[in-house]
C-alpha cells in the first residue's frame, strides 16, 4: 500500500497531468483546454498553501534562534517583525499589495536594498573578468582581444572616437556569438523536451525522491 501511495499514484498523476498539458499546447479541443485551466488554478491554490510552509519555516528557524539567543538573534527578531508588518499592512488595508501603505514600505525598504545588492554585481563581475582575462595561452589571448573590442565597443567614448570599435563589437555579437548561442539554445530545448518526456513516462523520478 505504501509503495502504491508513494510511487505509483504520483507517477499516474504526473502522467495524466503531463499529457493534458501537452495536448493543451498542441490542440484546440475545448474539453482539454478547460481541464488544463482547472489544473492551472489548482496549481495556484497549492502554491498559495505552500507559502505557509515558507512562513512556518521562517518562524521555526528564527523563533528558535531568538529563544536560544543564538548567533545574530536580533536580526532574526527584525526579520520576523518585518514579516508581520508586511502581512498586517497588506491585510488591514484590504487592498493587499495595491495599498499605498504597502507600496510605501516596499518602495522605501525592499527596492533600495535590492538595488544595492544588484549594483554590487559590478564588483563581482570585475573580479570575474580579471580572472578570465589574464593571458595565459593563445586561447586566453583571443578571449582578451575579443573582450577588449566588446568592452570598448559598449562604452560611448571609444566608438565616438573610433567607430571601428562599435562595428567590430556588432560583428562579434551577430556573427560569432549568435552562432554559438543558437547551438546551445537548440541543445537546451531538446534536453528540456526529452526531460519532459522522461518525467511524463515516469523515468525521471528525481522530484519524487527516487521513490
Amino acid at each position: 500500500m505504501s509503495e502504491v501511495v508513494r510511487k505509483y499514484i504520483p507517477l499516474l498523476i504526473t502522467f495524466i497531468v503531463g499529457v493534458i498539458a501537452v495536448l493543451d499546447f498542441y490542440t484546440t479541443v475545448p474539453a482539454i483546454r478547460g481541464t488544463f485551466t482547472v489544473l492551472k488554478n489548482w496549481g495556484i491554490v497549492v502554491t498559495a498553501f505552500a507559502l505557509g510552509v515558507g512562513a512556518v519555516n521562517l518562524f521555526r528557524v528564527h523563533g528558535k534562534r531568538i529563544a536560544e539567543r543564538g548567533e545574530l538573534w536580533p536580526l532574526s527578531g527584525w526579520l520576523l517583525f518585518m514579516l508581520i508588518v508586511f502581512v498586517v499592512v497588506g491585510l488591514s488595508t484590504g487592498k493587499f499589495d495595491a495599498s499605498w501603505q504597502y507600496k510605501w514600505i516596499y518602495n522605501a525598504i525592499m527596492l533600495p536594498l535590492g538595488a544595492t545588492m544588484y549594483s554590487s554585481l559590478c564588483f563581482y563581475m570585475a573580479m570575474g573578468a580579471y580572472k578570465v582575462l589574464r593571458i595565459r595561452n593563445i586561447d586566453s589571448l583571443f578571449l582578451f582581444l575579443t573582450a577588449i573590442f566588446v568592452v570598448f565597443g559598449n562604452t560611448p567614448i571609444f566608438p565616438a572616437a573610433f567607430p571601428g570599435f562599435f562595428y567590430t563589437r556588432e560583428w562579434i555579437f551577430k556573427t560569432i556569438i549568435s552562432g554559438a548561442y543558437r547551438g546551445i539554445r537548440i541543445g537546451v530545448g531538446i534536453g528540456a523536451v526529452v526531460l519532459g518526456i522522461r518525467t511524463i513516462l515516469g523515468l525521471e523520478r528525481g522530484y519524487l525522491g527516487r521513490a
Binding site: 496549481g43 510552509v53 570575474g128 526529452v194 525521471e204
Partner: protein, 260 residues
C-alpha cells in the same frame, strides 16, 4: 486540421517523433547498446563531498529560485535530481549538507528528497531540516544575500549549483571562490553560463543539466532515454544546414515548413 493548433502542427509531429526516439533509446539502453560520454562535473560530485568531509566543512547545494510552474521548471527538476544525489552522498560520507530554499512550492519537494536520501543511507537522525534547508526569501536579492551570509559564516568546502539562476549567479560563484570552495555550476540559462564558466571548477553547459538525473542514476534504461537527445541534435543540424543553404538561395522552405 481543426483539432490541432495552427502553427504548431509540425512541432506536434516533432514531439511525437521525440516520444518514438525516446522509446527506441530506452530499448537500446535495455540491451546495453547506449553509451554516453563522461560528464566531469557530475563525476566530480563525489570528490566535492569527499573534500568537505576531509576539511570538516559543509556542502552547499543551491537549486536556484525556479518554480514548478514557470518556464524554467525543467531546470528546477534537474536541480532537484542532483540535490537528491548529493543528499545521498552527504549522508553516506558524513558531510553536512545545506540547501537554502527560495521557492515555496519547490521547498516541500526538496525537503522530501533530502529526507529520502538520508533515510536511504540510514542517517535520518543526522538531518535537521529547519537548519539545513531553511527558507530564506522568495525575493531574488534577499535570497542571494541570505546565501552569501550563510556562506561567509559556514565556509563550505564545496558548492553545487544546478538549476535556473539569474544575476545572483556571479555573486555566488565569486563569493564561494573567495571562500576557497570547490564549485560545480550548471544552468541552462544562457546569460548566466559564462559566469559559471569563468569561475567554477566544473561546469555543466545547458542541456547537460537535463541529463544529470539519468546520468547519476547509472540506470541503463534512463541512460538510453537521453541518447535520443543526440539524434535530435543531428536532425537539427541537418535541418539547419539545409535551411541555411535554401534561404541563401532565396527559398525559405524550411522556415515555412516549421511554421505550419
Amino acid at each position: 486540421m481543426g483539432i490541432l493548433t495552427s502553427g504548431r502542427i509540425v512541432a506536434f509531429i516533432a514531439f511525437i517523433l521525440a516520444w518514438i526516439a525516446t522509446y527506441l533509446g530506452i530499448e537500446l539502453g535495455k540491451r546495453g547498446k547506449v553509451k554516453i560520454r563522461r560528464l566531469p562535473a557530475l563525476d566530480a560530485m563525489e570528490e566535492a563531498v569527499g573534500r568537505a568531509v576531509e576539511m570538516g566543512r559543509p556542502v552547499f547545494d543551491i537549486i536556484g529560485m525556479g518554480t514548478f510552474t514557470d518556464i524554467y521548471a525543467t531546470q528546477t527538476v534537474a536541480g532537484l535530481s542532483v540535490l537528491n544525489y548529493v543528499a545521498h552522498l552527504c549522508a553516506r560520507l558524513g558531510a553536512k549538507l545545506y540547501a537554502p530554499q527560495a521557492s515555496v512550492d519547490v521547498m516541500p519537494v526538496a525537503i522530501e528528497m533530502v529526507r529520502e536520501g538520508y533515510l536511504a543511507e540510514g542517517k535520518i537522525e543526522e538531518l535537521n531540516v529547519d537548519e539545513q534547508l531553511p527558507y530564506l526569501s522568495g525575493t531574488q536579492f534577499a535570497w542571494a544575500s541570505g546565501i552569501l551570509g550563510m556562506a561567509s559564516r559556514l565556509k563550505p568546502a564545496s558548492v553545487i549549483m544546478v538549476g535556473p539562476f539569474w544575476a545572483e549567479s556571479m555573486m555566488f560563484a565569486e563569493t564561494f571562490d573567495r571562500l576557497g570552495a570547490l564549485e560545480i555550476g550548471g544552468t541552462a540559462r544562457l546569460y548566466q553560463l559564462p559566469f559559471f564558466a569563468a569561475v567554477c571548477d566544473y561546469v555543466l553547459i545547458g542541456e547537460e543539466i537535463f541529463a544529470a538525473g539519468a546520468y547519476l542514476s547509472g540506470d541503463p534504461l534512463q541512460t538510453g532515454s537521453i541518447a535520443c537527445q543526440d539524434w535530435y541534435k543531428i536532425a537539427a543540424i541537418i535541418l539547419g544546414v539545409i535551411g541555411a543553404i535554401l534561404a541563401t538561395a532565396g527559398l525559405p522552405w524550411v522556415s515555412q515548413l516549421m511554421s505550419i
